[in-house]
Amino acid sequence: EDQVTQSPEALRLQEGESSSLNCSYTVSGLRGLFWYRQDPGKGPEFLFTLYSAGEEKEKERLKATLTKKESFLHITAPKPEDSATYLCAVQDYQFYFGTGTSLTVIP
Protein backbone atom coordinates (compact mmCIF):
# COMPACT_ATOMS: atom_id res chain seq x y z
CA GLU A 1 0.00 0.00 0.00
CA ASP A 2 1.33 3.45 -0.93
CA GLN A 3 1.92 5.64 2.07
CA VAL A 4 1.82 8.82 -0.03
CA THR A 5 -0.33 9.58 -3.09
CA GLN A 6 0.03 12.77 -5.07
CA SER A 7 -2.38 14.21 -7.60
CA PRO A 8 -2.53 15.20 -10.31
CA GLU A 9 0.46 13.43 -11.87
CA ALA A 10 0.93 16.34 -14.25
CA LEU A 11 -0.45 19.86 -14.39
CA ARG A 12 -0.15 22.51 -17.07
CA LEU A 13 -1.01 26.08 -16.09
CA GLN A 14 -0.96 29.39 -17.88
CA GLU A 15 1.26 31.96 -16.24
CA GLY A 16 -0.82 33.62 -13.51
CA GLU A 17 -3.34 30.76 -13.28
CA SER A 18 -3.46 29.67 -9.63
CA SER A 19 -4.00 26.04 -8.65
CA SER A 20 -3.39 23.43 -5.94
CA LEU A 21 -1.50 20.17 -5.75
CA ASN A 22 -2.70 17.40 -3.46
CA CYS A 23 -0.81 14.96 -1.25
CA SER A 24 -2.77 12.34 0.67
CA TYR A 25 -1.11 10.01 3.16
CA THR A 26 -1.98 6.91 5.12
CA VAL A 27 0.73 6.73 7.79
CA SER A 28 -0.85 6.70 11.25
CA GLY A 29 1.93 8.18 13.35
CA LEU A 30 2.81 11.21 11.26
CA ARG A 31 5.97 12.91 12.51
CA GLY A 32 6.23 15.36 9.67
CA LEU A 33 5.07 16.10 6.12
CA PHE A 34 7.56 17.66 3.73
CA TRP A 35 7.30 19.38 0.37
CA TYR A 36 10.23 19.40 -2.03
CA ARG A 37 10.82 20.79 -5.50
CA GLN A 38 12.83 18.70 -7.97
CA ASP A 39 14.18 20.05 -11.23
CA PRO A 40 15.15 17.58 -13.98
CA GLY A 41 18.41 15.79 -13.21
CA LYS A 42 18.72 17.45 -9.79
CA GLY A 43 18.21 16.43 -6.21
CA PRO A 44 15.07 17.45 -4.32
CA GLU A 45 15.14 20.95 -2.85
CA PHE A 46 13.44 21.47 0.48
CA LEU A 47 10.42 23.78 0.58
CA PHE A 48 8.34 23.19 3.72
CA THR A 49 7.82 21.02 6.78
CA LEU A 50 4.37 20.70 8.35
CA TYR A 51 3.84 18.90 11.64
CA SER A 52 0.20 19.16 12.67
CA ALA A 53 -3.27 19.56 11.18
CA GLY A 54 -4.15 23.18 10.60
CA GLU A 55 -0.58 24.28 10.11
CA GLU A 56 0.27 26.49 7.12
CA LYS A 57 3.59 27.63 5.67
CA GLU A 58 4.23 30.18 2.91
CA LYS A 59 7.15 30.97 0.65
CA GLU A 60 6.78 33.44 -2.20
CA ARG A 61 3.99 32.10 -4.44
CA LEU A 62 3.68 28.81 -2.57
CA LYS A 63 1.54 27.96 0.44
CA ALA A 64 1.38 24.54 2.04
CA THR A 65 -1.46 23.40 4.29
CA LEU A 66 -2.03 20.23 6.28
CA THR A 67 -5.11 18.33 7.41
CA LYS A 68 -5.31 14.98 9.18
CA LYS A 69 -5.16 13.02 5.92
CA GLU A 70 -3.80 15.33 3.24
CA SER A 71 -1.75 18.34 2.39
CA PHE A 72 -2.19 20.92 -0.33
CA LEU A 73 0.44 22.99 -2.06
CA HIS A 74 -1.25 26.11 -3.36
CA ILE A 75 0.50 28.00 -6.15
CA THR A 76 -0.67 31.58 -6.59
CA ALA A 77 -0.06 33.38 -9.91
CA PRO A 78 2.66 30.94 -11.02
CA LYS A 79 5.53 31.92 -13.27
CA PRO A 80 7.40 29.74 -15.81
CA GLU A 81 10.28 29.36 -13.34
CA ASP A 82 7.91 27.51 -11.02
CA SER A 83 7.91 24.63 -13.53
CA ALA A 84 9.28 21.57 -11.75
CA THR A 85 8.21 18.33 -10.11
CA TYR A 86 6.81 18.89 -6.62
CA LEU A 87 7.36 16.01 -4.24
CA CYS A 88 5.54 15.32 -1.01
CA ALA A 89 7.11 13.11 1.66
CA VAL A 90 5.88 11.88 5.02
CA GLN A 91 7.66 10.39 7.96
CA ASP A 92 6.56 7.94 10.60
CA TYR A 93 9.56 5.72 11.38
CA GLN A 94 10.81 5.96 7.82
CA PHE A 95 10.66 8.62 5.16
CA TYR A 96 8.27 8.02 2.24
CA PHE A 97 8.15 10.09 -0.93
CA GLY A 98 5.24 10.36 -3.32
CA THR A 99 5.70 10.11 -7.08
CA GLY A 100 5.31 13.84 -7.49
CA THR A 101 3.31 16.28 -9.56
CA SER A 102 5.01 17.57 -12.67
CA LEU A 103 4.06 21.23 -13.04
CA THR A 104 4.51 23.13 -16.29
CA VAL A 105 3.76 26.85 -16.34
CA ILE A 106 3.30 28.23 -19.84
CA PRO A 107 4.21 31.87 -20.52
Partner: protein, 115 residues
Protein backbone atom coordinates in the same frame (compact mmCIF):
# COMPACT_ATOMS: atom_id res chain seq x y z
CA UNK B 1 25.69 28.67 0.21
CA UNK B 2 26.82 25.31 1.60
CA UNK B 3 25.81 22.30 -0.44
CA UNK B 4 26.03 18.54 -0.57
CA UNK B 5 28.36 17.37 -3.32
CA UNK B 6 28.37 13.94 -4.94
CA UNK B 7 30.80 12.11 -7.19
CA UNK B 8 30.74 10.72 -9.76
CA UNK B 9 27.81 12.37 -11.50
CA UNK B 10 27.45 9.32 -13.74
CA UNK B 11 28.98 5.86 -13.51
CA UNK B 12 28.57 2.98 -15.91
CA UNK B 13 29.55 -0.46 -14.64
CA UNK B 14 29.23 -4.10 -15.54
CA UNK B 15 26.91 -6.37 -13.57
CA UNK B 16 28.75 -7.97 -10.67
CA UNK B 17 31.25 -5.15 -10.25
CA UNK B 18 31.68 -3.17 -7.06
CA UNK B 19 30.74 0.51 -7.07
CA UNK B 20 31.49 3.25 -4.56
CA UNK B 21 29.51 6.46 -4.64
CA UNK B 22 30.91 9.39 -2.73
CA UNK B 23 29.31 12.29 -0.96
CA UNK B 24 30.57 15.30 0.94
CA UNK B 25 27.77 16.43 3.25
CA UNK B 26 27.41 19.97 4.56
CA UNK B 27 30.19 20.40 7.07
CA UNK B 28 28.26 21.04 10.29
CA UNK B 29 25.54 18.49 9.62
CA UNK B 30 25.26 15.44 11.83
CA UNK B 31 22.85 13.12 10.01
CA UNK B 32 23.55 11.55 6.62
CA UNK B 33 21.31 9.66 4.25
CA UNK B 34 21.27 7.78 0.98
CA UNK B 35 18.19 7.67 -1.24
CA UNK B 36 17.71 6.28 -4.70
CA UNK B 37 15.33 7.06 -7.55
CA UNK B 38 14.80 4.57 -10.32
CA UNK B 39 13.90 6.39 -13.53
CA UNK B 40 10.27 7.47 -13.45
CA UNK B 41 9.71 6.13 -9.93
CA UNK B 42 9.61 7.46 -6.39
CA UNK B 43 12.55 8.62 -4.36
CA UNK B 44 13.21 5.70 -1.96
CA UNK B 45 14.95 5.77 1.41
CA UNK B 46 17.97 3.49 1.71
CA UNK B 47 19.79 4.30 4.93
CA UNK B 48 20.45 6.92 7.56
CA UNK B 49 23.72 7.33 9.43
CA UNK B 50 24.52 9.14 12.66
CA UNK B 51 27.41 9.10 15.07
CA UNK B 52 29.35 6.71 12.85
CA UNK B 53 26.70 4.05 12.68
CA UNK B 54 23.58 3.17 10.74
CA UNK B 55 20.50 4.50 12.54
CA UNK B 56 17.84 3.20 10.16
CA UNK B 57 17.74 1.23 6.93
CA UNK B 58 15.07 0.10 4.52
CA UNK B 59 14.38 -3.32 3.05
CA UNK B 60 16.24 -2.24 -0.08
CA UNK B 61 19.48 -1.84 1.89
CA UNK B 62 20.51 -5.50 1.96
CA UNK B 63 23.89 -7.12 2.47
CA UNK B 64 25.07 -5.90 -0.93
CA UNK B 65 25.04 -2.33 0.36
CA UNK B 66 27.27 -0.69 2.93
CA UNK B 67 27.98 2.83 4.06
CA UNK B 68 31.02 4.38 5.60
CA UNK B 69 32.30 7.70 6.84
CA UNK B 70 36.01 7.08 6.33
CA UNK B 71 37.10 10.54 7.42
CA UNK B 72 35.58 13.74 8.72
CA UNK B 73 34.14 14.84 5.41
CA UNK B 74 33.23 11.95 3.10
CA UNK B 75 30.23 9.64 3.28
CA UNK B 76 30.24 6.68 0.90
CA UNK B 77 27.78 4.12 -0.39
CA UNK B 78 29.25 0.84 -1.62
CA UNK B 79 27.38 -1.66 -3.70
CA UNK B 80 29.34 -4.90 -3.49
CA UNK B 81 28.13 -6.76 -6.57
CA UNK B 82 25.92 -4.64 -8.78
CA UNK B 83 22.76 -5.96 -10.40
CA UNK B 84 20.82 -4.58 -13.34
CA UNK B 85 18.08 -3.40 -11.00
CA UNK B 86 20.58 -1.23 -9.11
CA UNK B 87 20.52 1.18 -12.04
CA UNK B 88 19.13 4.40 -10.58
CA UNK B 89 19.97 7.91 -9.46
CA UNK B 90 21.47 7.80 -5.99
CA UNK B 91 21.04 10.89 -3.82
CA UNK B 92 23.01 11.71 -0.73
CA UNK B 93 21.41 14.03 1.82
CA UNK B 94 22.41 15.55 5.11
CA UNK B 95 20.69 17.39 7.92
CA UNK B 96 21.65 19.20 11.06
CA UNK B 97 18.92 17.48 13.03
CA UNK B 98 16.96 14.27 12.74
CA UNK B 99 14.85 14.44 9.62
CA UNK B 100 11.62 14.90 11.54
CA UNK B 101 12.84 18.10 13.12
CA UNK B 102 14.74 19.65 10.28
CA UNK B 103 15.18 19.79 6.57
CA UNK B 104 17.16 17.51 4.34
CA UNK B 105 19.67 18.96 1.93
CA UNK B 106 20.14 16.78 -1.13
CA UNK B 107 23.07 16.52 -3.49
CA UNK B 108 22.59 16.52 -7.23
CA UNK B 109 22.85 12.75 -7.42
CA UNK B 110 25.02 10.07 -8.95
CA UNK B 111 23.49 8.23 -11.87
CA UNK B 112 24.45 4.55 -11.84
CA UNK B 113 23.98 2.50 -14.98
CA UNK B 114 24.56 -1.25 -14.65
CA UNK B 115 25.03 -3.12 -17.92
Amino acid sequence: EPEVTQTPSHQVTQMGQEVILRCVPISNHLYFYWYRQILGQKVEFLVSFYNNEISEKSEIFDDQFSVERPDGSNFTLKIRSTKLEDSAMYFCASSMDRVDTGELFFGEGSRLTVL
